[in-house]
C-alpha cells in the first residue's frame, strides 16, 4: 500500500508534464518538451495578486484542494494485482466523492477572489457540474454491476474476460464528458473559459495560478487512470507487466481527452444544461439498463 502510494506520488509530476505536452502539440507553438517547464518556471517567479476583500483562506487553499482531490481519486486505482494505495471495498464511492467535491473546490476558487468574472464562472460551473456528476454515477454503477462490487480491484478483475468498453459501449464516451468537466476542458470548461477572460482563474497569478494549472493536469491524469481502470481493464493485458499496461492506457485516454477538448465547441451554458439533462442523462440511464439486462443470470 505504501509502495503504491509512493509510486503514485513519484509518477504524478512526470505525467502532469506529459499532459502539458499534449496540450501544446498541434498548437503551432513549438518547444513541446521544454515549453511547459519554462512557462511553469516563469509563472512561479511571478507574484501572487491581491484582490480587494478576498476570502483569503479559501483563495489560498482551493488549488491545493483540487490537487488533493486528484491524488485521492488516483489512490483507488490498482497499479497491479494487489498493489493499490487505498485498498477499500468502496473505491468507486471514494472516486465519486472526489468528483463531487471538485465542484465545490472550483466554486471556492471562483468565489474567493471577490471579483465578478470569477464568480460568474464559479456559479456556472456548479450548474453544469451537478448533472455531469450524476451522469458519471450512473456510468460507474454500470461498471460496478458486472463485478457485483464497488471495489475498484473487483471492477478490474471482472474485466478479465472482456473489457467494459466492449460490454458497455456507451459507458466510456459518457464518462469522458465527466472527465472534460472535472478537468475544466473544452466543451465543459464553464469555469475558466475565454468568454470570462479565464473565469475562476482570471484574478490569479504567480504560484497560485501555476498550482491551479498543475492540479488541473493532475486531475486529467487521475481521470484517465480511473477511466482506463473502469473501462479498459486497468492493469490487465498480455506480455507486458501490469503497471506498464495501466500507464499506456492512461496515456491514450489523456490524449483522447485533450483531443476531445479541442474538437468539440462549447455551447452557451443554458443549451449545455438542456443537453445534459435531456440527452446525456437519459443515455446514461439507458446504458445502465442495458448493463442490468446483460448481467441478469
Amino acid at each position: 500500500m505504501i509502495a503504491a502510494a509512493l509510486t503514485l506520488l513519484l509518477a504524478l509530476p512526470p505525467l502532469v508534464w506529459v499532459a502539458a505536452m499534449f496540450d501544446r502539440i498541434g498548437t503551432g507553438r513549438g518547444a513541446v518538451l521544454i515549453g511547459p517547464l519554462q512557462n511553469g518556471a516563469a509563472l512561479l517567479l511571478r507574484p501572487n495578486t491581491a484582490t480587494e476583500a478576498p476570502d483569503r483562506l479559501n483563495r489560498l487553499l482551493a488549488p491545493g484542494w483540487y490537487l488533493a482531490l486528484a491524488l485521492v481519486g488516483l489512490s483507488v486505482v490498482p497499479l497491479a494485482p494487489g498493489v493499490v494505495a487505498s485498498d477499500i471495498s468502496t473505491g468507486l464511492v471514494l472516486w465519486g466523492a472526489c468528483e463531487a467535491l471538485t465542484v465545490v473546490v472550483v466554486f471556492l476558487h471562483g468565489w474567493s477572489p471577490n471579483a465578478p468574472l470569477p464568480l460568474i464562472g464559479a456559479y456556472r460551473y456548479v450548474a453544469i457540474g451537478l448533472p455531469a456528476m450524476l451522469l458519471s454515477m450512473f456510468v460507474l454503477i454500470g461498471a460496478a454491476l458486472p463485478a457485483q462490487s464497488l471495489s475498484v480491484v473487483e471492477v478490474v478483475e471482472a474485466q478479465r474476460e472482456i473489457w467494459n468498453v466492449i460490454r458497455q459501449p456507451l459507458g466510456l464516451p459518457l464518462f469522458m464528458a465527466l472527465g472534460l468537466a472535472i478537468t475544466l476542458r473544452g466543451p465543459f470548461d464553464y469555469a475558466d473559459g475565454a468568454e470570462l477572460a479565464g473565469g475562476t482563474s482570471a484574478e490569479e497569478s504567480g504560484p497560485a495560478l501555476a498550482l491551479w494549472h498543475f492540479a488541473r493536469a493532475a486531475m486529467l491524469v487521475a481521470f484517465s487512470a480511473m477511466a482506463a481502470t473502469a473501462f479498459l481493464g486497468g492493469h490487465l493485458g498480455p506480455v507486458l507487466p501490469g503497471p506498464v499496461w495501466l500507464l499506456l492506457k492512461t496515456l491514450v485516454l489523456m490524449a483522447l481527452s485533450v483531443a476531445a477538448g479541442r474538437f468539440f465547441a462549447r455551447m452557451p451554458p443554458a443549451r449545455m444544461l438542456t443537453f445534459l439533462w435531456v440527452v446525456l442523462l437519459p443515455l446514461s440511464f439507458a446504458s445502465l439498463a442495458l448493463v442490468g439486462v446483460e448481467v441478469l443470470p
Binding site: I34, A41, G186, A194, S201, A202, P269
Partner: protein, 290 residues
Amino acid sequence: MNWLSALARGAEIPVFAVAGAQGLAPVEGLRRRPGLRLVDSPRHARVLLVAGAVDAAHKTALERLHAQLPPPRGTVWWQAAPLFARGEAVAGNDPLPAIRAAAEASDPDQRPDVPPHPWQGMGPHGQGGRGMMGGNPYGRPMAMTAEDIRDGLELDAYSARFGPFLPMLPPGLALDLTLQGDVIVSVTVVSPPFEQGVQGDAPDLCAARMLRLMGIGPRAARARGALMVLPKGSGMRRRLAAWLRGGTVAETPEPLSEALPGLEWAEAVLWLASFPPSQLRAVCMERQAA
C-alpha cells in the same frame, strides 16, 4: 532559485494586448508568433501591449488596466501615442523586440493605490444602499435584490461597467450592465468599439474571434459542428457560417440596449462577436448621436 530563473528565461512572454483603433488585425497576427503568448487576463500577463490608438477618454481605464498587471510589468505602445509615461513606443511592423525589452522592464505604479471613490455615507451603514446590501461603497458596486426578469423572483442584481478592454468584447466597447447571475438585465453603451477599418471585418479574423469564445481553434470549425452549438434563431449560425465560407456579413445589429437584455453572458458575448466590428461601431455611434 538560479536554476528556476535559468529555466524561466526561455519561457514565452505572457502579453495582454489592448487593441486600439486599427489594432485588432495586427494583434490577431501576433497570436501565432513564437516567443510570446497572448493571455486573456491582465493578471496573467508580464507585458501590456497597446496596439493602435486609444482615445484620451479611456486614459483612466487604461491606467487601471496597467495597475492590474502584477509587478514587475512592462508596457509597449505599438503604433499608438502613449497616454501615460510608462514603457516604450514602437512604430514599425514588429513589436517583438520591444516586447522582449519590456519583459525585462519594471514600470512603477501609474495610479495611486487608493479606492476610486470615497465612502459615500448614505443609508444605514453608510454604503449608499438599503440594509446591508446595495450601494457603491468606495466606488465598488454591491449587489441588491431586484425582480428577476425571467420569473419575477427576487434575485441579486449587480451593476458595473464592463470594458473597454475586456478581451471577450469588441475592443473599445464599454457597457454599463446590470446582471442577475450571468443574465443581462439592462445595458447602456458608454463608448462604442474602436474603428478597425476593413481588415477588422476580415472573415477569417471574425470567425477566429468567435470560435475562440467557443473554446476551439479556427481549423477545427468547418467539420466539427461548431455551428450546431450556437442557439437557433439568433442569426449567429448564419453569420458564422458565412465567415467560415469566406463571405462577409453585412447585417446590421439591433441596438445593444434592446438586443442584450435577457441573454446570458456567454450568449451575449457570442452575439456581439457575431457581427463585424464596423457594424457594431455604426450601431453604437448612431445611438449616441440620437
